[in-house]
């Protein structure tokens, strides 16, 4: 029965993530359209609609591009290289095992040169997803631990967390751009057109931006997402202690992490230190405390030792 309940939350999480991504995309489309329309209004009031339409198309093209090439770009930002079938064989094997257990296509595998223990996954769809490990993780984790971490990453792909996070990274980038554009145009038009035009746009933008920002923060800080990926990982490996051991090693590990671009830091299994302090992502503590995650996995292990080794519940 335990497994059955977990299964349903599992599916609804996928649906929830797809809905959230759709909602996010919609909000950003409206926002870009409003902003560019607003700027057009300031410049040439009778052509506001052209600006709005242009903004809409611009955002649509951007999203299509991101859906297509975003994951690849993130891999490049991370400075990752293809995993070598000989050298990183264990990682690739474990990845195959977990993909089979999750019933998703086998993702691509990448490695980054980084002495700290970490991993992340990207992908708009499970069929074009990728998992990336640091060399530190491959050297310091044993097979069971590696499997636990791999299962966690595969869970992110299967639950469509990766899709949401890719879009989230893009939206944050867009917001920064829009903000700077607005500040510039607001500054220019403030004297020319009088305060009313700029003030109206400011209110409009606040009205639209505030809810999006709130949603972003809610999404990015959703600790549930990490806990859920841990729980799914336990379901895939049937051995929650593997991931718990890995998290303990990550916490005890003192290797300085390589410089990580802030845009991809929320994707990692444990936040790369340093990335926390800069850029837009400083707002979001994306990961629940490692200690709490370990505690949950350990308690799961205790239950599983009785429940999981039984026959699966017959319906």
């Amino acid at each position: 029965m335990i497994i059955e309940r977990r299964r349903t939350t599992f599916w609804s999480e996928e649906a929830r993530n797809k809905r959230a991504t759709g909602c996010l995309v919609f909000c950003v489309l409206v926002l870009t359209s409003a902003v560019i329309g607003g700027i057009a209004y300031l410049v040439q009031p009778e052509f506001w609609w052209a600006g709005a339409l242009g903004g809409l198309f611009l955002a649509l093209i951007l999203f299509t591009y991101v859906a297509q090439y975003g994951p690849k770009q993130l891999i490049q930002i991370a400075g990752a290289r293809d995993a070598d079938p000989e050298e990183q064989r264990r990682m690739i094997d474990v990845g195959h095992e977990m993909a089979i257990a999750a019933g998703i296509p086998v993702p691509k595998f990448y490695v980054t040169d980084d002495p700290s223990i970490n991993a992340f996954s990207v992908g708009f769809n499970p069929s074009n997803a990728a998992v990336c490990f640091t060399t530190g993780a491959l050297e310091k984790l044993n097979r069971d631990e590696l499997q636990g971490v791999m299962a966690h990453e595969i869970s992110h792909i299967k639950n469509y967390d990766t899709r949401l996070m890719t879009m989230l990274a893009l939206t944050l980038g867009l917001l920064v751009v829009i903000r700077s554009v607005f500040l510039r145009s607001g500054g220019l038009s403030g004297r020319d057109r009088g305060r009313s035009g700029a003030g109206g746009i400011l209110v409009l933008i606040l009205v639209i931006v505030a809810p999006i920002l709130t949603m972003l923060i809610n999404l990015a800080t959703s600790r549930k997402r990490e806990f859920l990926a841990d729980a799914t990982a336990a379901q895939l490996t049937r051995y929650p202690d593997g991931l718990a051991d890995a998290l303990e090693k990550i916490e005890a590990d003192s290797s300085p992490p390589a410089e990580v671009n802030a845009a991809i830091s929320p994707l990692f299994i444990s936040s790369p230190a340093g990335a926390e302090s800069d850029s837009a992502f400083s707002l979001f503590s994306t990961h629940p405390s490692t200690r709490e995650r370990i505690a949950r996995l350990r308690s799961m292990g205790l239950i599983n030792r009785d429940a999981m080794t039984d026959q699966p519940p017959t319906v």
Binding site: I3, E4, R7, R89, R90, D93, V94, H96, E97, M98, I100, A101, A102, G103, R143, Q147, L236, R238, T309, Q311, P312, P313, T314, V315
Partner: protein
């Protein structure tokens, strides 16, 4: 009168739509279970293919263990010949045990342990064992989802009309076999 007719037609259209959606949902769940079953076979075949290789490697070092090797070869043959879900499950278990025995014996051959070829085979086989149990696990998960849907209302109505049958889960008799064999020399 006219509005009544429109409402009636819309209701019918909605019902048909719902019906089709339920039917398609069941079909895709059933297909997922069938695919999951095929995936188990893929992984089992992978193991069959590995074993001759393993036996060749081991033979060079273990001259006095003909019996253990023979057991593995026979278990492989029986597993390949087995018919039916239950018989095959049992034969596969026997093969897993025979392999476990082989690796246990291999412990006492330091040269064999050190050989690169053996180490590769060991990882390959450990991974294959894991893939087999992962595939079985996913099959069971898929079957459970499908069987549950079959019994839930309103899917149960559609299922009865079109003769969707519940599928059998893969069950392992020996509880120890659920754990993949540890083929580690350390």
């Amino acid at each position: 009168m006219f509005t009544g007719l429109v409402i009636f037609l819309v209701a019918i259209a909605l019902l048909v739509f719902l019906f089709v959606a339920l039917y398609n949902g069941l079909v895709s769940l059933r297909q997922q279970a069938i695919n999951a079953w095929a995936q188990i076979d893929v992984q089992l075949r992978r193991r069959y293919d590995l074993i001759p290789n393993l036996v060749e490697t081991v033979k060079q070092y273990m001259k006095y263990e003909q019996e253990t090797l023979e057991k593995v070869i026979q278990a492989r043959q029986r597993a390949m010949d087995a018919q039916g879900m239950r018989a095959q499950g049992e034969a596969e278990n026997a093969l897993t045990h025979a392999l476990g025995g082989l690796f246990a014996v291999a412990e006492s051959y330091p040269d064999l342990k050190a050989s690169q070829n053996m180490q590769n085979l060991q990882e390959e086989l450990a991974s294959t064992e894991n893939r087999i149990s992962a595939a079985r696990q996913f099959y069971n998960d898929s079957v459970m989802e499908y069987n549950t849907k079959l019994q839930q209302f309103p899917q149960s109505v559609v299922a009865n009309m079109f003769g969707f049958k519940p599928r059998e889960m893969f069950e392992i008799e020996d509880p120890g076999a659920r754990e993949p064999v540890k083929v580690s020399f350390s």
